[in-house]
Structures are given as C-alpha cells and as structure tokens.
C-alpha cells in the first residue's frame, strides 16, 4: 500500500492504495464518488471519463498513484452547489441526450472537454470526438444534438425532428 494525495473537485483527498489500484476505483471505492462509472475493461467505453489537470482522461487507464498531486474533476462537481445543472448538463436534459444514464457522466465530461477546446464544433467534429464514448441507448442522435445546443448552435434545423413532432 502507498499513500496518494490529490485534489478532487477542489478538495484534498488522501488514501492508501495498492500499486495496481486504478484512479476510477480510488474515486468510486475510497471517495464514494460513484458518478464515475466502469463500463468495460479495455478503455473503450468512456463511462469513466474525468478531468485530470483540465484534460479528459479515462480514469480506468490511469493508476491512482499516477494522479499524485493532480487536480481531478468528476461529474459530481459539474452542477452548481444548489444543484442547478451547468450548460452541458442542462442541454442533455433539454434534448433527451440520455436514457439509462450509465454512459452519461463520461459523455458530459467528454463533451465539456471538447467545448473547451472547440467552442462551436460541427456535427462531424462531435461524432469524431465521441469515438471513445459508447452509448447503447440513444443512437447518439440526441447526444450530438445536446452538445451542439450546449455550444449555442441552433439545432432546430436538424431535419429529423421536423417530421417527428
């Protein structure tokens, strides 16, 4: 066991971990931050995406010890203290960008990282950026739409919805 210390959602977090303990398990099991999910064991699905020093990282690809001294941000810190959803979260609710909710924390964290680098991404750029985030429920339609809307783009012209409602 080794001791690890990092900043998680603005607070100092310290714990004893094995060398093999992944960051995601440190977050979930020791800090009880269960919003970050584990959907695979090959770093494909992206349900575990968090931000480490401002960059989107799959927390299953990183050992907890590698995060020594880092600043980690998880889904739990995205809404305001009073629970008000942030712009990306609110867009996912407004445009039905989630169903079962399991991939959602990773999607929100990936989308937030994208919008930081590319504030007005095209549909193709969003789809490309989500290569490492798998959703089995939504068919991605409303996820892509949510992210476009969160970036302030007009999504009313997406042909699909004209006929639907």
């Amino acid at each position: 066991m080794s001791q690890v210390t990092m900043t998680v959602n603005g607070k100092t977090a310290t714990g004893d971990v094995e060398g093999r303990t992944l960051l995601v398990h440190f977050l979930r099991d020791q800090l009880q931050l269960t919003g970050t999910h584990v959907g695979c064991d090959t770093s494909q699905c992206g349900a575990c995406v968090v931000h480490v020093d401002g960059k989107a990282v799959k927390s299953c690809t990183m050992l907890a010890l590698e995060a020594e001294g880092a600043s980690v941000e998880t889904i739990e810190a995205q809404a305001a203290a009073d629970g008000t959803l942030n712009t990306v979260q609110q867009a996912f609710q407004d445009y039905h960008g989630l169903q079962c909710g399991f991939c959602t924390p990773g999607m929100v964290m990936s989308a937030t990282a994208l919008l930081k680098e590319n504030p007005k991404p095209t549909e193709a750029e969003i789809r490309h950026h989500l290569e490492g985030n798998i959703c089995r429920c939504t068919g991605y339609h409303n996820i892509v739409k949510s992210i476009m809307a969160a970036s302030g783009q007009d999504v009313s012209n997406i042909a699909a919805e004209v006929a639907a409602e």
Partner: protein, 788 residues
Amino acid sequence: MPKDGGIGASTKRREDVRFLSGTGNYTDDINLQNQTYVHFLRSDIAHGRINNIDTSAASAMPGVVRIFTGADFEGVGGIPCGWEITDRFGEKMQEPAHPVLAQGKVRHVGDPICAVVAESLEQARDAAEAIELDIEELPAVVDMKKALEEGAPKVHDDLTSNLCYDWGFVEENKAAVEEAFANAAHVTTLELVNNRLIANPMEPRVAVGDFNRGTGDHTLYTTSQNPHVIRLLMGAFVLGIPEHKLRVVAPDVGGGFGTKIFHYAEEAFCTFAAKAVNRPVKWTSTRSEAFMSDAHGRDHVSTIQLALDADNNFTALRTDTYANMGAYLSTFAPSVPTWLHGTLMAGNYKTPLVYVNVKAVFTNTVPVDAYRGAGRPEATYQLERVVDKAALELGVDPVALRRQNFITEFPYATPVAVEYDTGDYHATMDKLTQVADFAGFEARRAASKAKGKLRGFGVNCYIEACGIAPSNLVGQLGARAGLYESATVRVNATGGLVVMTGSHSHGQGHETAFPQVIADMIGIDASMVEIEHGDTDKAPMGMGTYGSRSLAVGGSAMVRATEKIINKAKKIAAHLMEASEGDIELKDGQFSVAGTDKSVAWGDVTLAAYVPHNYPLEDIEPGLEETAFYDPANFTYPSGAYCCEVEVDPDTGKVTIERFAAADDFGNIVNPMIVSGQVHGGIAQGIGQALLEGAAYDENGQLLTGSYMDYAMPRASDVPFYTVDHSCQTPCTHNPLGVKGCGEAGAIGSPPAVVNAVVDALRSAGKDITHIDMPLSPARVWAAMNNA
C-alpha cells in the same frame, strides 16, 4: 392539459437530473457493511470433463473467506427455464439441468466453475489463479447443423441429442403450404443468417447478496429488468426461499435490452453465499465476463421461401430455421424462435398460408435468449429480405410489391394464430415516402456517383407484437408465468400520489411518462405524482419490463388503479357536497356537482380520506389506495416502414449510412420526445447488427469477440441523424390508453432496410448480388463485389 405536461407532452425527464449529476444509484454503487467480494473462475474451454478441482492452495491465500464449487450446490436447484415448448410431434422439449456452478462438465467458455469469496476483489482474483483445475478437454460443437449430425459430441450426456425441439407452426397448414408452392407461378428462396449479437447494456451486471441472521430475511440487489421474476424463479426453483423472506431490489439499471430479464447463476450464488459466509457478497461483472456470461441474442440460420401467383400476389410462405440455444436454456430462450417469431411471419401481408419450422439446438456456446425485439427482428429480416429478392427476380418495384400485398382490413386474423387489431400500412409507407424523400433519391445517387461512391436505397416494413398476452393463452403455449402487470396507486393526505409499478425503468423514462398519464386523468400537475419501481418489498407482484410492454401493460394497470381511486374519491366528494355520486364530475383537479357551482378540490377530498371526520364511514373505508392487476386481451401490434440510404466505397467495401428514416405507428403516444429517443436507439442497434456486430466463435468454441476491442459496437461516427415520424396513429383497441409500445421497433425494422440498401447499391454497379449476410463488414462487401 396539466401545466407541467399530460398525455402528448414532450415533458423533460425528471430522472435525468440525478443521472446528469452523478447521483444515480446503480447496483455497483451499493456497498454493504462488512461486505465480501466474489470472483468467478470460469471455463476457458468450450467443453470438458471436470476430473478434479484443488482449492487447497487458493484457500490459504490472503483474504480468502471461502471457495465454492459445484459440490456446494448439490441438492440445490438449478437455474430454471421459464418456457416449455411442445414440438411438432407433441413431445416436450429437451430441458437440461443448469447448475449454479458447473457439475461434472463445463459446457461453454465462461461457464462458472468456482467462486472465490474474499475480503477484497483483488484478493479473490489472486486466489482464483491458485486454484488447480484438472479438466479433460472434449470435442466441442459450435455449428448448429453439425451439432445435429449423427455421432456429434453431445453438450448434455443425459439428453438423446443436441436437439432441444423441432417445432412446426401451423403444423396443420403444412400440406396446404406445400400444395401452394407446387402451384406457384414463382418461388423465391433465400438462405440467410441472423447474426449472433451481444446486447451490451453499458452497465455490466452486478449482484449483491445479503442475509439477516436475526430475521432470516434475504436481500438481493441486482441489475434486473424484472425483480419480481427473479424473486420467484430464484426463490422457488433454485434456493427454496419463500417470497416473504426474499427481497429483490433492482435500483437504477444501466440499460437492459433483454439481457437483464433473465435469472443468472451469479444472482443465485450471491444470495446463497451471503447466508453461507454470513456476510454480504458482491459480484461486479467485468465487461470481459459479460461477453461470456450475459445471454447472447439472435443466432438463427434460415431458409425462407415465398410463393407468388402470376399476378405477384403472395400465396404461401415457409421457413426452416435453426435456432441456437447455446449450452443451457436461458429463462425465456425457447419462446424466442417459436411464439415470438413464428407468429409474426405473416408480417404486413395477406399471405394466406404460412408454415414455420424451427429446430432449436444445443451448442457449446453461451446461452442465447431475448435481445431487443426477440424473435420479431428474425422474422422481419427473413420476410423483408425475401420480398426484396422476389421483387428483384420479378423485375418489379419492391415498394409496389409490398403495397400490393398489404393487409388493409382490420381486425385481421393471420394464418399464424394472431389477430392484428389495428394498423394502416399504406399510411406509414405514404409517410415514409414523404419524410425519406423517395423522390430525391436519384439526384442523391448521381451526387454519390460523382464522388466515386455507390448509393443504395432500401425500404422495408415491419409488424411486431408487444405486451405479450393474455396469460391464459401463453400458459397454453408453454409459458411458466403470467404476463399481467400490476400497479398500486397510493394517494397521500395532502393530495400527492405514489405509484408502485411492477414494471421497471432502465432508460425508458417511466418516472416521467407514467405521471403524465395520471396528471391527465385527475387534472393535477405531473409533479404531484412519483413512480416507485424495482423493489419487491414496495411494488405488488409484477412481471417487469421487456417486449415493449411497460406502458401498454404496466400503464394500463396504473390506469385501472387510478380509475378505482377516482371512483372512490367521487364518493367522498359527493358526501362532502351532499350530492348524488352520479352527479360528480372531475376536471382540472376539482370535483363539482353537475349543473351547480358547488365544487371541492382534489386535496380536500384526499384530506377527508385520511382525516375522516366528515366522511361516509358507514359506506366506505377511510384511506385512498388502490391496486390493479391488468392482464391484456391481446398483443399490441406496432408497425411501420423504414428507409435507409447507404454509400458503398467500391474500393474498400466500406458502407456508410447516409440517411435513415422511420415512419412508425405506435398508436397513441404519451411523451413524443421519449418515443423518438427509443426509436433512435433501436435504429442504432439495428444498424449495429447490419454493419458492425457479430459474436464469433472459432470451431473449438473459443469466443473470438470477447471485448470492445473485437466486438464492434456502433460509435457516434457510425450513424447519422435519423428522421423519425410517428404521426400515423391507429390506437390499440384493447387497452385503455390505446398505446402499442415503441421500445423494440427500431431494432426490428432497421436491419433489412440496411441490407436492402447495400444490395441495391452493389447492383447499381452491375454486380449480380442478391444477398450478403450480416454484418456487412468492408471485407464481406468487398468480397461479394469481387466474386460477383
């Protein structure tokens, strides 16, 4: 309409707030005091005889609490099958034993052999590596037809062969169908494979067993679509625990798609072991384990034949299907290729004679059971591919051939035992023609050609059956369960309501849509209604969520219970206003006396029910809580027409989906936003089946697709925006909401549209191709183009 949304409003989902803020409560988020962890040591070969298991070294490893083997489950029940098929000859299907942990033999890669319970998951895994297994490898059967050959290795030594059943439907029509084929002007034959899929909900399965030594109560937290079904199957058939001593909780569940219907060995193990070690036992599946232990889907090999007369009317249809059961019978496996498949073979067409033969086969593979659509996608794919091929052979427009043969009068009794209550197949095809812009296709094809791409156009129809029912009929067909749904509506003194439903939400949005219905019925805000589901200690006995049944069956139970509430509330209101009960009207949450200005509010009546000072105690009891069980009179029959446009890169064979449009008839719709979302997700899974996904085994039974590195899940860049329309609505005639169900349609309707489009694209380049088996990978498409 209530101001926050009644029936027909695209109300935003209330459950999203917790999912978006990381405060959902999935089973893996549950940790109990003093909990242990279990790791299953699984077979890495497909078939073998267990000579010896030596756990002595492993038992001495740090942190090990106890190691279990099949011997610990002698005298304990096996995992039961919930459906018994009677074959063509009146014989019952062959039904093998399915022990919780392997006994005597292992029968598929992933079959659990030992369970190591330890203080930590890492210690359990470490100890599992120290178990010494002496397993003699036996020849495996993987291919269904080879499994039925004389002398093939037997998956189960105590069965007569690897044939589970040989089912014929409708057996009495067999001779007439043969005669119709003999007299046909044209016969189209197509052999095809419905590829084996793995459902892959993003949340892997989890089970946490707990036992209270003081009370003798068992609790199982599990990732289930139907906790009551698990309680009944596991309690009654595996562990011998009566329902009143067993609580099953399925909290937030991260997707199901069928594969979380079934009762699995790991659930029984954790419940059993929690008592044996006197501590909670938790199992969290890895994705790798999920690939080899979650029930797979589809895996049919079929030959379908369509007979037509000289005017291109369909005169008869027959199919021969081999359906893979895997190594054991999963909970509803036998029903999928039979009653959920054969009964849909008429499709949207007035074909007068249909005969379906299904041979279900045991192989050394993971058990196969229902996956989104379950039987209906297999039926639709065969039918809609053979119709397209017939159009090619006859040189007629495939849409016109379909329209010519559409059923147009309802109710319609098919030759395969079901009666469609409503539908309008021309209307959905008309709508599709418009929203998919059939007219603009040639221009788009020319534009693709200018880029060096082959553009293809594929259309198909589908009919499906949701809300499987009624119980007395399915009982005759072999179901070992009822198929009703339940709801308890509890009204609180201050007017809020809690609905405890037996159906379960794992992405479908019950917590939002169900209150919309009640809000409409009473005329109160939907925010006054809360939905409770997923806990057998709260909800009355219910059958859960599958087969697109939640609103059609579970919603109907809720409507019936709410009607009882309203009837009683009217009695109370009549008393409060000193009026006759028959004169009481309820509108916008106000009870009024017809023709007067007297009224009392909903909240006044609910308060009176719980503070019954001025109350007709001699006539009715205090309180306002009612339960209803609803057993549907028939299936519901959603239908629709789908259109796919693809581009094929002739140099690589890569297919891209350029446009996808769906025109569905789901009857009445409660929340259009949720319905569109369900269709989007279904279409993506159908596109996944058509282009990307396929569970592959080698000839020795090794699973070649065991992770997301080699099982191709659809990603955001594999799919386009979809055009979905559900404005064609022929309400169901036999449930109170007139709803039909929308959860599976997308996955049922989309694969043939994709394949039809790819075949069309290749033919546009002069290739004489009539069929390619799914998934249409670049390699398969390229090979087809270059061999043709």
